[in-house]
């Protein structure tokens, strides 16, 4: 079709695998995209910031080969998502993995209750995920194959003092991913929930480099795992935190 990017002709028995990454322009999203490209995936990359997105695509499309296509998109533009999903499927021709990374965490003061900020977090982190993953879930269910990866957070494990809206968005995302998993496993689809601890991204200045998180995520995708923490030790930290009784936890301030 006119002016759609051309993916090179392939041997039909072994097409290159295809992935969509939503929230690809920075942090974990960019690192996962780079990793998938390295593993031979053809990518549809989505993000709000067009310049950074295009730069990432250019980086991945070397030697005249189309490996990544940029689709500037705001994850809260829910109305546009079905048509965009179709366009991506037309361009990629198939889809094996969808990774939802997009997430926001505006700074909130411990005494502040700001609905606008909370609403933004719910819209991007939760509703954006539902809008995108629902499309992919329909496709994967019909194809009887595929993998859905949702980047949640350790913040979803407990409601805590600093950012109630963020905790809520991630806890809800966890539940949504769990429900998808229970619906889709029987159709041959894997749903992976990723719970990063501190990763050095726009959301947190300190932590492991995103490449390290991307390596963990890739390993989990390959093994078709259900739930991972990255770095792994957060599983045990959160296990303890989850069991702190409320009469103590409500007196703590982290």
């Amino acid at each position: 079709m006119p002016d759609s990017p051309q993916i090179p002709i392939e041997f039909p028995l072994t097409p290159k695998p295809r992935a969509v990454v939503i929230g690809a322009s920075s942090g974990i999203g960019a690192a996962v995209s780079r990793r998938l490209a390295k593993e031979g995936y053809v990518l549809a990359l989505l993000a709000r910031r067009e310049g950074r997105l295009q730069a990432l695509c250019d980086e991945l499309n070397q030697n005249d080969e189309v490996n990544a296509i940029a689709y500037p998109h705001n994850a809260t533009d829910f109305v546009a998502i079905p048509a965009l999903f179709q366009e991506i499927l037309q361009d990629l021709q198939r889809l094996d993995i969808i990774v939802f990374v997009a997430g926001v965490m505006p700074l909130v003061d411990v005494t502040e209750f700001n609905f606008d900020k909370e609403r933004l977090m719910i819209e991007v982190n939760l509703l954006g995920a539902m809008a995108w993953l629902g499309q992919a879930a329909t496709l994967f269910q019909r194809m009887g194959a595929g993998q859905i990866v949702g980047i949640s957070s350790v913040a979803g494990d407990r409601g805590r003092v600093p950012n109630p809206g963020y905790n809520t968005s991630k806890a809800a995302l966890d539940t949504y991913l769990e429900a998808l998993r229970n619906r889709l496993t029987r159709h041959g689809v894997n749903v992976l929930t990723v719970k990063p601890g501190f990763v050095e991204t726009a959301l947190s200045p300190k932590g492991i480099p995103p490449e390290k998180a991307a390596a963990d995520i890739w390993r989990a995708m390959k093994r078709r795992r259900q739930l991972i923490y990255t770095p792994f030790f957060w599983r045990y930290i959160m296990l303890i935190i989850k069991y702190i009784p409320s009469f103590i936890f409500r007196r703590l301030s982290f």
Binding site: M1, L89, Q90, R142
Partner: protein, 476 residues
């Protein structure tokens, strides 16, 4: 169906997993199942406007990606399956493109008419069969099915309707038949059936110990109504390529004492049990156990020995369906190849180079540890269609099992085989193909043919509405 071309063309609920017949390729497509020509017209109009590619699909019996359109629209014709006119005096029948070979013979046989050409299975639609311009075991005598089409009506992707005969709109007649759904959609097909005087064929079977003798036998018997050879592609040394010949002839009037009985549909329906008790629907699951290099060797060997001892030079009467539709004898046989499915590799070689080339192909396949588990040999003659697979020579169709482990090697093997076939001056067949690349296509069809096709395509489909995965792969 989208309303007047403005609604969304690709609603999620139309997404379906579509496969090739060998179950070795799968692809997402938005499936439409039109019942009326007007629906196709609307869809083409919407597709032209919105820039969405459309592929045509019959029963999905192509071995490769001929009826797939990954991420785009797939039009399934199975519901456009009405028989429009039938004249039992002249044997001329007019049908919609979704009518299957099975429907066709069941409709006409009791009047004494049989399809002049049939593929090895009765399930394909006539639209699909003519898009691929299939041949049967009688290619030398009867040509392809396209040669028996008196007239067809087609809807072009630019929205125009045309009537084509070998004289009228000749370029489209010889282009759309064999054109793999790249140039237009059949909306009706008028076919000349063949008069028969019995529902039986007289079939002769015998084995030949080498491929050279197989080719000689098939050549000597080419004037028989039907002739076909099964080839053992797993045997060792000089025996590689040995096999069993079958020839068959129609009975003359009077040879069958009770033609009304043998021409009845009941007499022709394939039994659904084996040995009288085993449901045939489960047989493929047992076949599955033997679908490995060792099992295929044993199976081919056992078949050869049984053929030599029990059936040597036997002359027998078989029903048309028994002889013609061997592939339907075990339902779901293609599933016996396991989860990776299979591909078929069919090459057509001039009679002068056939022996050397086929020996190279069989030896190389064996040497690479990828022997074909089933080979079928036929005699062919050239035809006048734009995209033709035929040569004055032979074709050898080879089934290869696909697994996750062998697929990379299979890719390499078939790429090498393509070069071997080209060196022998051979051709390929889009209905079976999953291995061709644009350079190979250009090499065997010739630059002139490819540019002629592209010119024709530009004329009838300037917006490139009709596209399949095969089209993109071979002509992209």
């Amino acid at each position: 169906m989208s309303d007047n071309g403005t609604g969304p063309l690709l609603p999620l609920e139309r997404l379906n997993r579509l496969e090739n017949f060998g179950h070795s390729i799968h692809s997402p497509g938005y499936l439409y199942r039109p019942t009326q020509i007007e629906e196709i017209e609307e869809l083409f109009a919407a597709s032209r406007k919105q820039g969405v590619a459309v592929a045509l699909r019959g029963s999905g019996r192509s071995y490769g990606d001929a009826a797939l359109n990954s991420g785009g629209i797939v039009l399934n014709f199975q519901r456009m399956n009405r028989i429009l006119e039938w004249n039992p005096e002249t044997g001329i029948i007019k049908v919609e493109p979704g009518v299957t070979i099975e429907q066709l013979w069941k409709y006409t046989l009791e009047d004494g008419w049989w399809s002049p050409v049939v593929p090895g299975t009765m399930f394909p639609t006539l639209g699909g069969v003519l898009a691929a311009n299939v041949h049967g075991k009688n290619n030398w005598r009867a040509g392809t099915l396209g040669e028996h089409v008196l007239e067809f009506e087609a809807l072009l992707p630019n929205g125009k309707h045309v009537v084509c005969t070998p004289k009228k709109n000749k370029d489209l007649f010889y282009g759309i038949i064999g054109g793999m759904g790249m140039l237009g959609v059949f909306t009706s097909i008028t076919l000349q059936m063949k008069k028969v005087y019995s529902g039986y064929l007289e079939v002769k079977a015998w084995v030949e110990p080498t491929l050279e003798r197989m080719l000689a036998a098939i050549n000597e018997n080419k004037e028989e109504d039907y002739n076909v050879g099964w080839v053992d592609c797993t045997a060792f040394g000089k025996r590689l390529g040995r096999g069993q010949m079958h020839t068959a002839r129609y009975l003359e009037p009077g040879e069958d004492p009770n033609p009304a009985q043998s021409l009845s549909v009941d007499a022709q329906v394939l039994p659904d049990t084996m040995f009288g008790i085993m449901p045939k629907s489960i047989v493929y699951q047992f076949l599955r156990l033997g679908m490995n290099n060792l099992g295929a060797w044993g199976g081919n060997l056992a078949k050869y020995i049984l053929n030599r001892t029990l059936e040597q030079n036997k002359v027998d009467r078989w029903t048309f369906t028994e002889f013609s539709f061997l592939l339907d004898y075990v339902p779901n046989w293609e599933r016996s190849y396991g989860n990776g499915g299979l591909i078929q590799y069919q090459s057509f070689l001039p009679k002068e180079t056939a022996y050397d080339t086929y020996m190279q192909i069989l030896r190389l396949s064996k040497r690479r540890g990828l022997p074909s588990y089933l080979g079928v040999l036929k005699r062919h003659r050239p035809d006048d269609f734009l995209l033709s697979h035929a040569v004055d020579g032979f074709s050898l169709a080879l089934d290869y099992k696909v697994t996750r482990r062998n697929v990379a090697r299979l890719r390499k093997l078939t790429a090498d085989l393509n070069q071997i076939v080209l060196e022998g001056g051979g051709r390929f067949y889009f209905a079976k193909d999953s291995t061709l690349t644009p350079d190979v296509v250009q090499a065997y069809l010739g630059e002139e043919t490819v540019s002629k096709l592209k010119k024709l395509k530009k004329k009838v489909d300037p917006q490139n509405v009709l596209q399949t995965d095969l089209y993109k792969r071979c002509f992209g």
